[in-house]
């Protein structure tokens, strides 16, 4: 009996712990900025993790050859001073001279050659192959000139070189390898890593010898990043002053924090789109979703505007396309399914389900949104057997074609091109629940063409058919909230990357 009472009091203790003020460790005076990460990184080496937190560290610790200004989207040289296409599959870079890595090693063509050849090799197991598998190899022309060879024509090469492909020190990396790099990271970036305690915290210090990079010079001397999975704990520490900045804060909490008037709450959109995937190809067996009337009914049943206004809030928008509106090729001139539950019921009746039907409904994140969506479906007679799974488990089920209906999201790796989403899911891959031949043909033309007008034309055809046939029920775009103390000055960007180098004390 005592043990049972203990379980109950654990909850009470949690409440108390969350509301009791903790001692303040740091603030503007000490020069240390305290930041929380929600997730733990599997490896700090940016080629061997696939999380948002990893991208944040990558941008702080390492540099790429090229830099894309997040405001103007213009490409400028970073570790490279200039570049040109020698032919369709060869890029030549003139490198910046006088740059040194955090350990004192000088940066030159050997580093680029080693890094590119290492990551492009599939056996080396870079986590997100898509980021590097378009490169074939690199060769040194002289100490500060290098050529990167592509496997085939790849118009997005510059975008990738300014994003996930960063340069590593050849001598150090050859010796330390990904695991050594993960524990003692060495780069050329604005911040150097002085301490890595996996699962606890990372300590970054401003790189005083940072080269004249378009990223700008670091202003905050020291950054202490701690892994705190629970958002309530993060907020409690923010109140007590032992954290200065938290991000990815859910909308409800961000609103309340904003009302308190002690913190700056900044909201920015992200490229992530939330949608319902329906098994229109009938891969999961005999399912009602093979009938277009049922799929349209599902589309009419969802009150997208209410979801955006009440749950997602911030800069989220309603979408009807299977891609993010700013992406190249993601035309918005498609069939729009306004919320109309009566029409949904009529369509279900017409399809032969006057009393509705019952289906499994899967989700992997944002339980609250999923529950709200399920409730809309229940209201028109579609009974849902709700199942919340881990992302990897749902992905596997989905690949096996065993998912009749699921709430999915896709962030397109922040790549501003419709191919990153539409082509990902409608080209008969293992995650394609539609398998429309015509859409496949059109997307093949659109993806490989170098003529922008032709690309637009074929994306339009494909996207319009997807909307007309209601293969999916696209619903909304996501946003993210950054909350920080008023000592901190920072303007977040729309690409969901936290940039320490842009932060300063007020």
């Amino acid at each position: 009996m005592n043990k049972r009472l203990l379980d109950r009091s654990a909850l009470l203790a949690l409440t108390l712990a969350a509301t009791t003020a903790l001692p303040a460790f740091a603030d503007k005076a000490s020069g240390t900025l305290n930041v929380a990460f929600t997730k733990e990184l599997e490896n700090v080496d940016s080629y061997f993790n696939s999380s948002r937190e990893g991208v944040v560290l990558q941008r702080a610790v390492w540099d790429g050859l090229i830099y894309r200004d997040p405001e103007t989207n213009e490409y400028v040289g970073n570790l490279a001073e200039s570049w040109e296409w020698v032919d369709d599959t060869t890029l030549e870079f003139k490198l910046r001279e006088g740059v040194t890595f955090h350990n004192g090693e000088a940066f030159n063509a050997d580093d680029v050659v080693y890094t590119v050849n290492f990551v492009a090799k599939e056996e080396n197991g870079v986590k997100t192959q898509r980021n590097v598998n378009w490169m074939d190899s690199a060769e040194k022309v002289d100490d500060y000139t290098v050529r990167i060879k592509l496997k085939q024509k790849f118009p997005a090469a510059i975008e990738f070189l300014s994003g996930p492909v960063s340069m590593y020190p050849n001598e150090y990396y050859a010796e330390a390898g990904p695991s050594g790099m993960g524990l003692k990271p060495v780069g050329t970036g604005p911040y150097k890593v002085v301490d890595v305690v996996p699962g606890q915290h990372f300590v970054l210090e401003a790189n005083e010898n940072y080269h004249d990079s378009p990223k700008g010079q670091p202003e905050i001397e020291k950054i202490d990043i701690r892994t705190i999975p629970d958002v309530n704990t993060q907020m409690a520490e923010l109140f007590s002053g032992s954290l200065d900045l938290i991000w990815q804060v859910p909308a409800d909490q961000a609103e309340k924090l904003g009302e308190m008037g002690q913190f700056t709450v900044a909201n920015e959109s992200t490229m992530r789109v939330g949608y319902l995937q329906m098994d229109s190809a009938g891969r999961s067996g005999d399912t009602p979703f093979t009938d277009p009337l049922v799929r349209k009914a599902v589309n009419y049943a969802i009150n997208r505007q209410e979801l955006v206004d009440a749950l997602l809030q911030g800069s989220s928008k309603v979408v009807y396309t299977p891609c993010f509106p700013s992406q190249f090729g993601c035309i918005q001139d498609v069939t729009e399914y306004e919320y109309d539950p009566e029409k949904a019921k009529e369509l279900l009746a017409e399809a032969g389900y006057p009393d509705g039907f019952s289906t499994e409904f899967y989700a992997y994140r944002d339980r609250q949104y999923a529950e709200a969506i399920a409730s809309y479906l229940n209201a028109v007679g579609i009974d849902t057997d709700f199942k919340m799974l881990q992302y990897s488990a749902l992905r596997e089920l989905n690949m096996d074609g065993e998912v009749p209906l699921s709430f999915q999201t896709w962030g397109s790796y922040s790549i501003n091109d419709a191919s990153a989403m539409v082509s990902q899911f409608f080209k008969h891959g293992s995650l394609d629940s539609t398998r429309d031949e015509e859409v496949l043909e059109w997307l093949n033309v659109a993806d490989s063409s170098t003529d922008p007008d032709e690309r637009i034309e074929y994306y339009t055809k494909a996207i319009q058919k997807i909307a007309e046939e209601a293969y999916w029920a696209p619903m909304f775009t996501y946003n993210t909230n950054y909350v920080f103390s008023q000592d901190v000055s920072y303007t977040p960007t729309a690409d969901e990357v936290l940039r320490f180098v842009d932060m300063s004390w007020n």
């Binding site: 009996m1 049972r4 379980d7 109950r8 909850l11 409440t15 969350a18 509301t19 958002v231 309530n232 907020m235 409690a236 859910p250 409800d252 909490q253 309340k256 009150n303 209410e306 979801l307 206004d309 009440a310 749950l311 339980r367 609250q368 529950e371 709200a372 399920a374 409730s375 809309y376 229940n378 209201a379 057997d385 709700f386 199942k387 919340m388």
Partner: protein, 298 residues
Amino acid sequence: MTDATDPLSREIEGPSPRQMLRARALKHKALIFGMTVVLLLVLVALFAPLLAPHDPYAQSLMNRMVKPVFMGGTWEHPLGTDHLGRDYLSRLIYGARVSLLIGAVAALISGVIGTAMGVAAGYFGGKVDAVVTFLINVRLAMPVVLVALAVVAILGGSLTVVICVLGLLLWDRFAVVMRASTLQVRRRDYVAAAQVIGASTPRIVLTEIMPNIFNNLIVVVTLEMAHAILLEAALSFLGLGVQPPTPSWGLMVSEGKNMMLFEPWLVLIPGAVLFVLVLAINLMGDGLRDVTAPEGRS
């Protein structure tokens, strides 16, 4: 045998055992409190559709997290609304059904299993006893919460799965107590007498043994019921128990957890109700034991 000092004839003059039991029960305040609360909640669960002011599933995203009336809300939603704008009081009322159903059915299943094993072990002894004792030890070596989590994670969470898992896991106390009680009872003279007149084993077990160990059984039932209710809440809190939108108190605590710093009542209300129910069932069990075993044997 008509001597005035005969114990039997003296007892006839006093109150009957049943009357004494009732008198003791009425004087036991904790038992009265526990029984009243449990009875009240059973009635609430039975008449949920009549009592609930709203449909517990009706979502209204424009009315999310309305405060309860004692915190400045309106009587439209006396206990406020949850994160999807569903009436909190109605969900609480329907949640009582889930909790009591799981508690009762899980206790019933484990009671049947545990009693059968315990009585068999106690009555037959020997090899049967050795096997049952071994099974009890095996069961006691398994951490209940971990096993329940693992099984529910594999089979997927639903009301039926949770009831079955808990029912199949919580029989150990029944088996232990029933075995010990049967051992005591089977050496009594009336059991020997029944054996001598040639009564069959099922008859002896059902008419001579069971009625005399029934008091102990009732006490264990209440304890295990409370145990099952708490485990269901824990599983639902972890997202592995009853699945949304079914209202369950553990699930309500879990859903309110994220807003705990700003809207603590979202967690406190279902938490408090759960606390009161489990306390009441435990008080009832303790009270029953005190009343039925006044000499302190149990």
